[in-house]
């Protein structure tokens, strides 16, 4: 191996421009590849308060359609009634939380002079058992408090500081949308990248509209509720989905009296679908187009630099024809020549890869523009360090280096191994 390092250093000294260009080209392509990969992975890898992502399913939306010839339809979020009917007490589910899936901009006022805007969501007590928010002071609210819709809230650290100039505000009143609540607890700020669990204010909200039997209109099936399901480790998502499909059929028998039926759109959704944002109340998730574009992008990010590096390696090899000829003359086999060139080039690629990976990680952590969307525009979003730097990221980088090296080095290495030793030694 030491000999190979010496060879690389000699190579760079002998052809500094081509060696430098090779490393820059590799670093550039690994950088871009890793930025894309990290941005995609941050949406699905578990981190607090969504450490449960691998076991999380979300039930959202209901789509109803007329069974008569008009075929007219309605679709929206779930009411508590529908959410419970479709998702409560499923086999293989460890916990379920009924919560508002989207954040609402609310007007907040504490003891400080000015009121300010913050993002809130209504959640039940179970929410904090699924999503691991870190409590700084106070407690989370109880099942009884959320079920009774008591005016209690859990707020984030930064909200506490804005409203009270301090995090010691447990038990103090806070005005939200002109309604008085009591602060039960303060949690650490959460990244807006935790789309399902983040928020500045969590308002206790439970089954306050228990219309289990009496419906005034079809709109009672709809509301602003979603269900977070924490699936047991030994249970699989398909098993849960099959149960939900059976529940939809039960709902259909109930709806049939009014000539309505439900349209199933593959709920509940896993984190990959939730992160894709490629689903809606009246359409099924379809990741195929998104995956095609992503794979094409990854392909171009790999193939273009690989061709480039291959041309550069070809040039480097032509400078080393004498050396290869001598090695062949002394009995070095062709596979050995190929293996040596590929190994040597892999070290070259790895050097560029390390630079590219480091730059990619720094960029992914510092540039929040990578993660902005309509809901988070203008906010400073930084991903958790653990979501960016982890074994998965390193493995992807090494794999990309390996593939890049294999694509770029194989043809020049194969050509070099086919050289006639006599011609190679005589070559200038």
């Amino acid at each position: 191996m030491r000999q190979k390092f010496n060879q690389i250093i000699y190579d760079i000294r002998r052809q500094p421009l081509i060696g430098t260009v090779t490393i820059i080209a590799t670093a550039l392509s690994i950088f871009l590849f890793m930025v894309v990969a990290i941005t995609e992975r941050v949406k699905v890898v578990p981190f607090s308060p969504e450490s449960c992502r691998d076991n999380l399913l979300m039930g959202k939306y209901l789509h109803l359609q007329k069974t008569d010839e008009t075929g007219s339809d309605m679709s929206s979020g779930l009411s508590y009634y529908t959410a419970k009917k479709l998702y409560e007490n499923l086999d293989g589910v460890e916990r379920e939380s009924f919560m508002e899936p989207d954040l609402s901009a609310t007007l907040v006022k504490g003891t400080t002079q000015k009121s300010f805007s913050a993002y809130s969501r209504g959640v039940d007590a179970e929410f904090f058992r699924i999503f691991d928010h870190s409590l700084i002071s106070g407690t989370f609210f109880t099942d009884a408090e959320s079920d009774a819709n008591m005016p209690v809230v859990v707020i984030s650290e930064s909200t506490a500081r804005k409203a009270f100039n301090s995090i010691d505000c447990v038990g103090m009143p806070i005005i939200i949308q002109h309604k008085k609540y009591i602060v039960r607890g303060v949690v650490k700020d959460s990244s807006r990248l935790a789309c399902s669990a983040c928020g500045d204010i969590f308002i206790a909200k439970g089954y306050h509209n228990k219309k289990e039997d009496v419906f005034s209109s079809l709109s009672d099936y709809f509301g602003g509720i979603a269900v977070a399901l924490l699936v047991k480790d030994d249970s699989d998502f398909e098993h849960i989905r099959q149960q939900v499909i059976a529940r939809y059929k039960e709902l259909d028998t109930e709806l049939a009296t009014d000539n309505w039926k439900s349209v199933y759109h593959e709920a509940p959704f896993n984190q990959e679908i939730l992160a894709s944002d490629n689903f809606g109340s009246n359409w099924s998730p379809d990741l195929s187009q998104q995956n095609r574009v992503r794979n094409l992008l990854y392909g171009i990010l790999l193939i273009l630099p690989a061709i480039n590096l291959s041309t550069l390696l070809h040039s480097r090899m032509r400078k080393r024809m004498n050396e290869i000829g001598i090695r062949r003359a002394f009995g070095c086999s062709r596979p050995r020549i190929i293996a040596d060139i590929i190994t040597e080039n892999f070290l070259f690629t790895l050097a560029g890869g390390i630079i590219g990976l480091a730059l990619g990680i720094i960029f992914a952590i510092t540039y929040s523009g990578l993660y902005e969307n309509m809901e988070t525009a203008g906010q400073n979003i930084t991903p958790a360090i653990g979501a960016v730097i982890n074994a998965g990221t390193i493995l992807i980088a090494i794999a990309v280096c390996f593939i890049l090296n294999l694509i770029s080095a194989f043809v020049p290495a194969w050509q070099a191994s086919r050289l006639n030793p006599v011609e190679a030694i005589n070559a200038k």
Binding site: H178, K180, E372, M374
Partner: protein, 411 residues
């Protein structure tokens, strides 16, 4: 000389094939990126017919009766009187020009769509005239806030008077794919009714410019501007005097934002709304530009590395040329010519793929016409040519500066 150059390129066919293959991919990728960006620019650049600077919006909220802070109404006070007072307070602000109210669908940069159809029954067996519109309900003052103009030169004030007296105003749309479809002019001055509501007719008083949901989205259907009932008002729009936005926001006190049970929250400038509504499109444009730069960097480095090596390989040949009287310009021309021939071959090979791409629907449902396709293609070729010349320049410069005596001493 050209023949010799071609022969020399054929002798180096192996590395040249790699460069051509790389260029074919790059030509296709760059063409796809440039045509997509150009299509986006064409949509963005369409006339708006309204002025959206110096505008603020706030959502209008109501303290419900079950809230302990709710103030009961008497025979004098009502939500309507609260609203009138709230607007009067805002109008008295020295920085405010005009204040109006509207439904969520009356605002730009919210992706709401409230589709309906306006219809005119035709005589005899002829099919009724139908036209799809996005229903935007707003107070007359909201037309002044947004400064919506009529296509026949009507001012926002004239349009506001029209909807105040009960007329409706409609706009044209961006696409007219079906020649048999009703045109917006067919409805001007006519009494129309809304889809499935033939009891009430509405008079179309004017044709105005349409309000797009985003600067990057074409108008799929027309717009319908009509007066709003108080109970449907969910937003308040405020036009401030030019350049006084920050002063206005700072001058607002909490008493300005609340009257009785009505209060304003989430005050946002139109710039903030535009930014958050279009952030994903901005990111898309940014990503495409970054990707294009990456692809161009790859090509630049590829040509730099390859031609640097060729300069070393051809040192003796270049020296002999110089001894035979070749000028620096001739050496440059030879190197650049080699690059341009490689580019030309790549373009020819990429043409079938480019043709396929040119038939693809662009984002927003746009298809580029022949001129626009040619423009995107020319941009692709020009930028690539510049990058190739840049990549070859340093090796070519090196070639012109070789030490002839040193190079030829062993020959």
């Amino acid at each position: 000389m050209k023949r010799k150059l071609l022969n020399q390129m054929l002798n180096e066919w192996r590395p040249n094939i790699w460069l051509v293959l790389e260029l074919v991919i790059v030509v296709c990728v760059l063409y796809a990126l440039f045509s997509s960006l150009y299509s986006t620019y064409l949509i963005y650049n369409r006339s708006e017919g309204m002025e959206l600077n110096d505008v603020y919006f706030a959502s209008l909220n109501f303290i419900e009766e079950d809230n302990e802070n709710h103030a009961p109404y008497d025979s004098i006070h009502s939500p309507e009187t609260d609203y009138a007072l709230l607007l009067a307070n805002l109008r008295s602000n020295p920085y405010v020009e005009v204040v109006g109210g509207g439904s969520p669908n009356s605002l730009p940069y919210l992706y709401n769509y409230w589709g309906t159809q306006i219809e005119i029954p035709q005589k005899g067996d002829r099919t009724r005239l139908q036209y799809q519109v996005n229903k935007r309900q707003m107070s007359p003052d909201m037309l002044r806030v947004l400064r919506i103009h009529g296509v026949d030169g009507q001012s926002p004030d004239e349009l506001a008077e029209l909807i105040a007296k009960g007329d409706i105003i409609i706009s044209d749309r961006d696409y007219h794919n079906d020649p048999s479809e009703a045109k917006v002019d067919d409805f001007l001055g006519k009494d129309v009714y809304f889809y499935k509501d033939s009891l009430q007719t509405h008079h179309v008083g004017a044709i105005a410019y349409g309000m797009r949901r985003s600067d990057f989205e074409p108008m799929w259907s027309g717009n319908l501007y009509m007066n709003i009932n108080f109970s449907d008002i969910k937003y308040v729009g405020i036009r401030v005097k030019p350049g006084t936005g920050h002063l206005f926001a700072e001058s607002l006190s909490e008493s300005d934002m609340q009257v009785g049970n009505l209060y304003l929250s989430d005050l946002k400038s139109i710039e903030d709304m535009r930014y958050s509504a279009q952030i994903e499109k901005y990111q898309d444009i940014r990503n495409k530009i970054i990707f294009a730069v990456f692809v161009l960097m790859v090509i630049f480095l590829g040509f730099l590395g390859s031609f640097w090596f060729r300069t070393q390989q051809r040192a003796s040949e270049i020296a002999i040329r110089k001894v035979s009287g070749a000028s620096d310009r001739a050496i440059y021309t030879r190197f650049f010519g080699e690059g341009m021939i490689l580019l030309a071959v790549s373009i020819v090979l990429a043409l079938p793929l480019i043709y396929g791409l040119s038939k693809t629907e662009m984002p927003g449902g746009w298809t580029l016409d022949v001129t626009q396709t040619a423009t995107a293609g020319i941009c692709t070729v020009l930028i690539l040519a510049i990058l190739i010349v840049a990549g070859i320049y340093a090796p070519a410069l090196k070639a012109t500066r070789i030490d002839i005596a040193e190079v030829l001493k062993n020959e």
